[in-house]
Amino acid sequence: MKGLILKDLYIMRDQMKIVLIILLVYFILPFISEEYMTFPALAVIICGIMPVATMSFDRQSSWDAYAAAMPIQKSSMVWSKYILGILLLAAAAIPNVLIEIPLSTKYHVNLSENIQIICIAAMVAVIYQSIMMFLSFLLNDPEKARILFFILTFGGAALVGLISKQPWFRLNQDMHFWLLIFGITAVLLFVVSGFASAKIYEKRDR
């Protein structure tokens, strides 16, 4: 599995340059504007969905057929994508959470609320990953999933930004409850998606 994840990281090197530029913008923007919360959400979602893009590269090069001749379990071919998604998500979310500490002090905003926004973005990314990975394995066509990627990425980021501006979006008992439900749903969906994708992949000829 280590080799599979390494391969995908190498593939994404060029794409990651674009993401790093976005992250750099995020690091500069807070010093210019107080209205910066959309960007960490966008960065987290993009990082979370990138594994689907690697499947297009795999398809172009017939990687699956080549990997079939290697000592790699079929389930590893699937789970490596899901694990990669989580790793990228963590790589985007954790620095964003850390930078919130000085920024919330600078702009006198509620730290926990901003961290919640990042968590929501991460959960949205997990849900997107779960649905699109499953569809990619089911349809065996990551290009169709890519169209969904663009629609849902910008839609999802706009949605998170919109939610964060709503007057009802303040910390209270109910929000914590709904956040917990949302988080559990995201995790369950992720696990179910992974197992279902592995089942589909197991049955497929390569």
Partner: protein, 279 residues
């Protein structure tokens, strides 16, 4: 122990049927797997490597009889397909690092030696390689993890004649180890004639013949006779024929023709063509 044992392998596609294929590759031998386009060579190889599900039959790969066991033994198998397999934006150096994580006996030193021998720039991206260079990279990776069995599907096609000769020498060196074996499928029958111990012909999903190369070359000969002389031969003597205006060229089984018949040695290619024409 045989390196590969395939028994009654069957796979049905909408327009193609792999029909009860039987194939045995003894340890320490090279088997040439020959057939026309669409004959079933790649399908058979894919079945051996569990890349496709089969309808019937059993496969024994280096002693592994179940799919789970065969995943483990793939650590001892080097495979070369007719396409590279690695995403185009990687380079040979990155491929080596990935392979190191996958194969337990990956050898960086051997890999580097093959990259130098095959003149592959380790930092050049695969998308900038020619077809021949991609094949060279595949061969280098297949030979760099101390494999016991090489499975090569059209591995020498796309290579220039000089390099093809070099690669065949590499395969010949590989087979000097007692427990090393090679299954090589190719259209370039002359290459197989040079290095193979066994030859298997497949045609329209069926194995026509699977024998030792030297026996094959000894058993089947070419004759140039008249139609009348051809008709006089016993049934089963003529394997394939080409009837012309002034006479016939035929491939015959030397054990079934009169001793006074003048015969000529046939090449593997000629044997294959005559056998498949008749089928």
């Amino acid at each position: 122990m045989n390196a590969i044992e395939v028994c009654n392998l069957t796979k049905q596609y909408p327009k193609f049927y792999l029909d009860h294929v039987n194939l045995t590759l003894p340890c320490g031998c090279i088997m040439g797997f020959v057939g026309e386009n669409g004959a079933g060579k790649s399908t058979t190889i894919k079945a051996i490597l569990d890349m496709i599900h089969t309808d019937e039959g059993s496969i024994n790969l280096l002693g592994a009889t179940t799919e789970k066991e065969r995943v483990q033994v793939k650590d001892d198998i080097g495979v070369v397909f007719d396409s590279s397999g690695y995403p185009d934006n990687l380079n040979a150096l990155q491929v080596g690092k990935i392979q190191k994580c996958i194969y337990t006996l990956w050898d960086d030193e051997v890999y580097t030696q093959y990259l130098e021998k095959f003149v592959i720039d380790p930092k050049k991206k695969i998308k900038d390689y020619s077809r021949g260079m991609k094949m060279k990279l595949s061969i280098a990776t297949a030979l760099s993890h101390h494999a016991k069995l090489l499975i090569l599907d059209e591995a020498t096609s796309g290579l220039d004649p000089v390099f093809r000769d070099q690669v065949l020498d590499v395969f010949y060196d590989f087979i000097q180890e007692e427990n090393h074996s090679i299954l090589i499928s190719s259209h370039i029958v002359s290459d197989l004639e040079r290095i193979c111990d066994y030859v298997t012909f497949i045609h329209k999903g069926k194995i026509i013949v699977s024998e030792e190369k030297d026996e094959l070359l000894e058993k089947y000969r070419l004759v140039k006779v008249s139609r009348e002389q051809l008709d006089e031969l016993e049934e089963g003597a003529v394997i394939g024929k080409r009837v012309g205006e002034y006479g016939c060229d035929a491939l015959v089984n030397i054990h079934r023709i009169p001793e006074n018949f003048h015969t000529e040695r046939a090449t593997l290619e000629e044997i294959m063509v005559y056998m498949m024409k008749e089928e």
